[in-house]
């Protein structure tokens, strides 16, 4: 019966409306977090710039490039991938893009006979790789929303240990670079060994040291500074990824809100039609009933029929107005 269908539709509209409210709220939350995350990206810049400055000056002062973090292995047998993804889903292709890029890179390595090691940040990364049977070296979670420097530090330490022990000969960093609100891209970059050219440590050793005094020796300062540089770089990647995550989530939730709105309009239209159909059927039944009755000259019954007809017409009219 048509009335039953109407009730089902009304329930569906109610549930879509509730979903829409949730996605809308998530959209707004993500939007406000992008701004904060961008602020943190900016706030982290002075430190890494200064660290790079100091390394450049140290290299000028004759700090040799024989630190383990600067030494490239002759042959690469095993590559460590540091993968930065999110703890939560509902952010469109954000997680899959970076995870697929890493999987492709691992496949390419395998074809060259290289092994892999995975250091993951984010529940989604751990879920993805453990489901596919990859061996996970270390997995971190709980800070993809709002990473702290101490998070970056503990991650960088475990990666540096792998590298300095010689268990891996190269470390790649996979994250999502935040270019603007509208565009983010997956980046897979070499993390270790550090590129001397990138940190300005390739200045020739006999160049002018700028008259710097060093305390202690330049090489020792460099030894202390390079791990800090690696941490700062990982921290920057975590921050950019978190800004990208919020931007991706905002876009995904906006699309979901729009879809819910479309769905709601369509279902309302179908529901109104079903309602009108059921009223029309009702009227037909009453009218044919009245026809049958009119042969008996029963005034009392006629009154009852007329009243119920008026009621049906009124509700049909108000329905038309609403639709």
């Amino acid at each position: 019966m048509a009335g039953g269908q109407e009730r089902i539709l009304r329930r569906r509209i109610g549930s879509i409306d509730a979903t829409k409210k949730i996605t809308r709220a998530m959209e707004l939350i993500a939007a406000s977090r992008i701004v904060k995350a961008q602020g943190r990206v900016q706030a982290a810049k002075p430190y890494s710039e200064k660290v790079t400055d100091v390394i450049t000056n140290l290299a000028g002062g004759g700090a040799g490039g024989d630190h383990p973090l600067l030494t490239a292995a002759e042959q690469v047998d095993r590559v460590c991938y540091v993968v930065i993804a999110a703890d939560r889903g509902l952010c469109g292709g954000y997680n899959n893009n970076v995870l697929r890029a890493v999987e492709r890179a691992i496949d390419a390595d395998k074809s060259q006979g290289r092994d892999y090691a995975l250091v993951l940040s984010g529940k989604k990364a751990a879920g993805y790789f453990s489901f596919r049977g990859y061996e996970i070296h270390a997995s971190y979670e709980g800070f993809s929303d709002q990473p702290n420097y101490s998070d970056a530090k503990s991650m960088a330490e475990s990666v540096a240990e792998l590298f300095e022990n010689g268990e891996v000969q190269q470390v790649q960093l996979a994250y999502t670079r935040f270019l603007s609100m509208g565009s983010q891209e997956v980046a897979v970059e070499q993390f270790m060994p550090l590129e001397p050219s990138e940190i300005g440590a390739d200045a020739s050793e006999d160049s002018d040291s700028g008259g710097y005094e060093f305390e202690p020796e330049p090489a020792e300062i460099l030894g202390r500074l390079l791990p800090r540089y690696a941490e700062a770089r990982l921290y920057a990647a975590l921050l950019e990824s978190s800004a990208s995550e919020h931007a991706a989530r905002q876009r995904a939730m906006k699309a979901a809100t729009d879809n819910a709105e479309d769905l709601k309009i369509n279902l309302t239209r179908i529901m109104n039609r079903a309602r009108q159909d059921s009223i029309t059927t009702e009227i037909m039944e009453i009218v044919s009933g009245a026809e049958a009755m009119s042969k008996d000259d029963d005034d009392e019954l006629k009154d009852i029929i007329e009243q119920s007809l008026e009621g049906s017409f009124a509700s049909l009219a108000s329905d038309r107005n609403n639709a």
């Binding site: 982290a44 002075p46 200064k50 420097y149 005094e213 305390e215 202690p216 020792e220 500074l225 941490e231």
Partner: protein, 127 residues
């Protein structure tokens, strides 16, 4: 001279100072105006900045200092101003570290933890 104290998460201090005293791994060092260019690694210890509106005391948990062109830059991933120090937390950390040292006197981590706790207590009581 211009002084900046930069942590990975923010610029903690930026302003004009007449004198800076910091503890490098080789000992305390003071910087006055127009100090010669200098790069040093900082030990766990107290750093003091003579700013225009008084002396600012900070507990530094290791870092770096660079002096060039009449400006001092301190880089540290663990710097606390005296008002931000949790004195009770520092005292309990100190006790825990001393206990660990009494078990194993060669425990470097505990020795550093002790130094960091002592620095925090010193800076907190001075500020």
């Amino acid at each position: 001279m211009q002084v900046e104290l930069v942590s990975p998460e923010a610029v903690l201090f930026s302003g004009e100072c007449s004198q800076v005293v910091a503890r490098t791994v080789d000992g305390d060092i003071a910087f006055l105006d127009n100090h010669a260019p200098f790069i040093g690694a900082l030990d766990i210890g107290q750093t003091q900045l003579w700013a225009n509106d008084g002396v600012v005391s900070l507990a530094i948990n290791g870092g770096f200092v660079e002096v060039s062109g009449n400006s001092v830059t301190i880089l540290s991933d663990g710097a606390l101003a005296s008002q931000d120090i949790d004195l009770e937390g520092a005292q309990s950390d100190l006790q825990a570290a001393e206990q660990a040292l009494s078990v194993d006197a060669d425990d470097d981590e505990a020795a550093n933890a002790k130094k960091w706790a002592e620095t925090r207590i010193q800076v907190s009581s001075a500020g």
